[in-house]
């Protein structure tokens, strides 16, 4: 991960993402305004990185166009990204499937809002299934990073790009409206230079750089394959990549798990609200721990199994009707009860609500 600057700043998560994109040395950002993440595009336009790093910033005519610009830019080996919020991310799914099938590195940011449909503009985690289980067509996976702080919003830009290039697959930062809109302290990554064309040609020999003759052969970026046998082989190759990611890139954080009689599992901003709830419970002598998955895919199932199976019960808290809870149940192999507490439609629960939900599910803990 990139080094951080000395200076401590105060900014919104969305603004931190924009600054981090520039500082990563990204080549391009293509976006379309949608609440609650428009500050990403606004901050980029305000910063005018085309004058400093030479980065391209473009407001596209639609999310569809934006994601296909990402597909085009990524095809040329450039570090490119886009951001949107839930309804816009739905529109991007076609392009995301193509980017995955094209084995292209790209970063996509989703600052989730309440759904389904046009929904609300307030925070939600309703896109867990869409992001982690598929979204677009075909068998593909995204590397999914769930930031809980503004610092992580900044840090995961670099991490997401690095992982995307390492595995040649798209990565998504799955944030929610809380962490997008809140301000807190952040140290931005130090400015990295953009890669030169020569570096891109060396690092990405597959890239469509237009230099067919110098290279000695032309490069073609296509996701079309007429022969099923070959397409199955492609799929096997994708799956092999996903297996390596599952082996190497699981990330999570544990809090109070050593002596936990109960476990909560939550991601993003909700994990922080749970932590406050757990502190309230611990004041009453009830030992509850927390696991916060940082990568939602690959999912930290091993640690959840190890810790969860030793507890009397697990509670997942999500801003949805119960999505990640399915993966938690699979992880603990149904050896202990796994309950879900969720708020929807843009409502964010407060710490006391989480305490109440915990007592309701596990009354014997009192």
């Amino acid at each position: 991960m990139s080094d951080r600057e000395e200076e401590v700043r105060l900014m919104k998560g969305n603004e931190a993402i924009a600054h981090a994109i520039i500082r990563y040395g990204a080549d391009g950002y293509f976006g379309y305004p949608i609440t609650p993440q428009s500050e990403v595009l606004e901050t980029l336009e305000e910063q005018m990185p085309w004058d400093t790093t030479g980065m391209v910033v473009l407001q596209a005519e639609s999310e569809l166009a934006a994601i296909n610009m990402v597909y085009g830019g990524a095809s040329t080996g450039k570090a490119v990204c886009t951001s949107s919020s839930s309804p816009g991310i739905s529109l991007k799914q076609e392009g995301i499937s193509y980017i995955a099938a094209g084995e292209l590195p790209a970063l996509i940011i989703n600052v989730m809002r309440g759904g389904p449909g046009l929904g609300t503009i307030q925070p939600s985690q309703g896109d867990y299934f869409q992001t982690v289980k598929g979204g677009g067509h075909g068998d593909y996976r995204l590397i999914v990073l769930a930031p809980a702080t503004v610092q992580e919003m900044a840090d995961f830009v670099g991490l997401g790009f690095d992982l995307a290039f390492k595995y040649r697959t798209p990565a998504m930062i799955l944030a929610d409206g809380v962490v997008g809109q809140m301000m807190e302290k952040v140290q931005l990554p130090v400015q990295r230079p953009r890669r030169t064309d020569a570096q891109i040609a060396e690092q990405c020999p597959w890239a469509i750089t237009g230099r067919a003759e110098s290279r000695g052969h032309r490069n073609v970026e296509t996701t079309l394959e007429m022969e099923p046998n070959k397409m199955e082989l492609n799929n096997h190759r994708f799956q092999e990549t996903y297996r390596r990611i599952q082996e190497n890139e699981v990330r999570y954080e544990e809090y109070y798990t050593e002596d936990a009689d109960y476990l909560m599992v939550a991601f993003g901003s909700v994990a922080r609200i749970c932590l406050k709830g757990i502190e309230l419970l611990r004041e009453k002598g009830i030992k509850v721990g927390l696991i916060r998955p940082i990568t939602l895919w690959p999912f930290p199932e091993k640690i959840i199994r190890e810790v969860g199976q030793k507890t009397k019960g697990v509670l997942t808290v999500e801003l949805n009707a119960g999505q990640m809870v399915e993966d938690v149940r699979l992880a603990v192999e149904c050896k202990v009860p796994v309950a879900h507490f969720g708020r929807m439609g843009g409502i964010v629960p407060n710490p006391n609500e989480i305490v109440d939900a915990f007592y309701k599910e596990f009354p014997e803990a009192k």
Binding site: L58, M69, K78, G210, N219
Partner: protein, 255 residues
């Protein structure tokens, strides 16, 4: 006679362009695509762009264009070629970036991407094959299908009360401030082919000179989809297609 014998005789009047690959083309005999491919390959070579070009292929009959013209290619999703080309060009401004699209791709599913890329004046060239039908999927109605023309999805002929009017998207694109050159050509005769080549060269020169978006519409035949012999298809095109889509420059701010 073998190829070598023909060459020895000194009777070659036309050869396969250097940048056309040896891959067997999937286009039907009589289709206009092959000719336009050859023109694009020749122009790229003559302009010294073989080591400086990115083509963006569509979904449609030209989906495999990347198999035939020996430069770097990106295969876009259906209709999205202008968006893909926008990013490829903006991130690689010294490269020649062009799209090669059909009427379904460019004027139906990709209308928004086409219009907005052109309206931004992206420095790309758009080669637009207008044959009034969806060829690849088996001859369905396109926005450009003529009134009364029969296709698989308007088997009794296109009715404007049901399906609207044939879309003259070239004229529409010419209205945009971002386009510097919009022309409508054809490849049904040697003379027409020469003009088309000149137009594509002009479009590529515009793109490299940063003059904005150029669109070369090529009114084309789809004799399979139209269910005609190649010769009949050319005649039918002259009589019907060109009546609706007349040839010539629609807009040229360069000359």
């Amino acid at each position: 006679m073998t190829k070598e014998e023909i060459k020895k005789n000194g009777t070659v009047v036309a050869a396969k362009p250097r940048l056309i690959t040896d891959n067997q083309m999937h286009y039907c005999p009589g289709c206009s695509h092959g000719v336009v491919h050859s023109i694009v390959a020749e122009v790229l070579d003559e302009m010294g762009l073989a080591d400086n070009a990115i083509g963006v292929a569509p979904v449609g009959c030209a989906v495999f264009a990347y198999n035939y013209i020996d430069v770097d290619w990106i295969e876009a999703a259906h209709g999205r070629a202008p968006a893909v080309a926008t990013a490829a060009k903006r991130l690689n401004p010294d490269r020649m970036v062009f799209t090669y699209q059909g009427d379904g791709d460019l004027s139906a599913i990709g209308t928004a991407e086409t219009i907005h890329a052109a309206n931004r004046g992206e420095n790309i060239a758009i080669i637009f094959i207008n044959n009034g039908i969806y060829g690849m999927t088996g001859g369905q109605m396109a926005p450009t299908t003529l009134e009364g023309m029969k296709t698989a999805t308007c088997p009794y002929g296109r009715r404007v009360d049901l399906n609207g009017y044939p879309l003259k998207i070239g004229d529409l694109l010419a209205q945009l401030d971002g386009t510097c050159y919009v022309t409508r050509q054809s490849v049904h005769t040697t003379a027409a082919t020469r003009k088309t080549k000149k137009a594509i060269r002009q479009a590529f020169e515009n793109a490299m000179a940063g003059r904005g978006t150029s669109v070369v519409e090529v009114v084309s035949t789809c004799n399979s989809g139209w269910k005609m012999s190649p010769v009949k298809a050319n005649e039918w095109m002259e009589e019907h297609m060109m009546a609706k889509y007349p040839l010539g420059d629609i807009k040229n701010t360069v000359k």
